[in-house]
Subunit: 239 residues, 2 copies
């Protein structure tokens, strides 16, 4: 029996970013991550100090909660984290799909899984220099390959000029993948705060900067999107 | 030689709403409309009182301006209005596509054109009761048919509960089309103002209402999106 560590399950709400922005979704946020990005906005699901807050759930437990929240009406389930790819979500995806649900998953691309091919979409989010992490491109390539014919997209968070230049190079490796770029939240919530203060003006300012920088460069490949949930709800958790 | 009435051409900027939200785009805003929605946010391109401000341009004139603004680098050209379908954009689309550009077009679906089949996407935006207009569904069906295999999406602006209920019925007519709903701007700019005041708190409040209403209803088909350009630039024109 598969036991998964789950930081939170919530929704239905809208997906706030990336390829399925605006889509009604239930989030299943996995606990645990193989990265520790300097600006992580979900430390409560990453830092092992918070491990005692993660529930140990079977695939069936998780599915019961998704069904309760959605009323059994099919929607897209968003698997996030932490890094959901370090755990085995294959059985959950297979079961949910048999009930008419879709599954989106976002990961940094550090662990490839054969069940990536069941996702719609697989969102690969390689982390830029400001994160303090470094991408292993061989493993990242293996993730793209594991997805096969499943819809796969790139999403890159950008905090500064160095990240921007890095994003252009990273994206150039995968010209066939739809590309999304977004400004980071430079005032992420501390892991023990449910609704921490946020610099909304600064966030809008950075979004405008990213739009101006990209368009002035005549780099027209990416869609340039904000984090809608941040604009609506700030740092509030569970929405 | 085709002569078109053009209210404005501007960009590159991002598409602020709907199916290609976040995509770099040059807008070509046609002058003239067969509707007169009560809450129209582009009256300067609709009200014939402003007809003297619309340029008479050939297809070549328009293309030259798109090329100047984009630097000749292919992107999506957004044809808007007014109702761009009352004029013949077929030659512009054919020429631009031969140069590698894509064309998106938004219309209320009151005039069908054979060149709809060249769009990616055709955005059909049937107007809800609060507009004061009424949809001719036979003509609307003809628009869907004219698009053929071209990507076609529905986008419905919602101001109130009556609009919401109407949107659900309208969308049920086209279950196969991707669906986008968005709150309207209840403080649209007057036609002679370049940067009119806007009720941003009210706009965010209405967006939250629409999310809550839709999700509480377990209506998971639509993507629920704001007008990003309004959140960033308010009622400023030409961005």
């Amino acid at each position: 029996m598969t036991i998964l560590r789950i930081a939170e399950i919530f929704g239905p709400t809208i997906q706030g970013e990336g390829a399925v922005i605006g889509a009604p979704t239930v989030f299943v946020r996995a606990g645990g991550c193989d990265y520790r990005c300097s600006w992580c906005d979900s430390l409560h699901a990453v830092d092992s100090e918070y491990r005692h807050t993660w529930a140990k759930m079977t695939t069936e437990d998780i599915w019961d909660e998704v069904e309760r929240l959605s009323g059994g009406v099919p929607l897209t389930v968003s698997l996030s984290g932490g890094n959901p790819a370090i755990q085995d979500f294959g059985p959950l995806i297979a079961h949910g799909k048999s009930k008419g649900f879709d599954f989106a998953l976002e990961t940094q691309g550090s662990v490839a899984r054969d069940w990536f091919s069941e996702l719609s979409p697989l969102i690969l989010s390689p982390k830029p220099p400001s994160s303090g992490e470094e991408v292993d491109w061989d493993t990242f390539d293996a993730c793209v390959k594991a997805a096969g014919n499943a819809e796969t997209v790139l999403k890159i968070v950008i905090f500064d000029e160095a990240d921007y230049l890095w994003a252009k190079e990273a994206a150039a490796r995968y010209p066939e993948l739809p590309l999304y770029i977004q400004p980071g939240n430079h005032t992420p919530p501390p892991p023990d705060a449910e609704d921490a203060k946020i610099d909304m003006d600064g966030i809008m300012h950075r979004y405008e900067w990213l739009i101006d920088r990209t368009l002035a460069d005549r780099w027209f490949a990416p869609k340039i999107l904000p984090q809608l949930h941040v604009l609506i709800w700030g740092n509030k958790r569970g929405v």
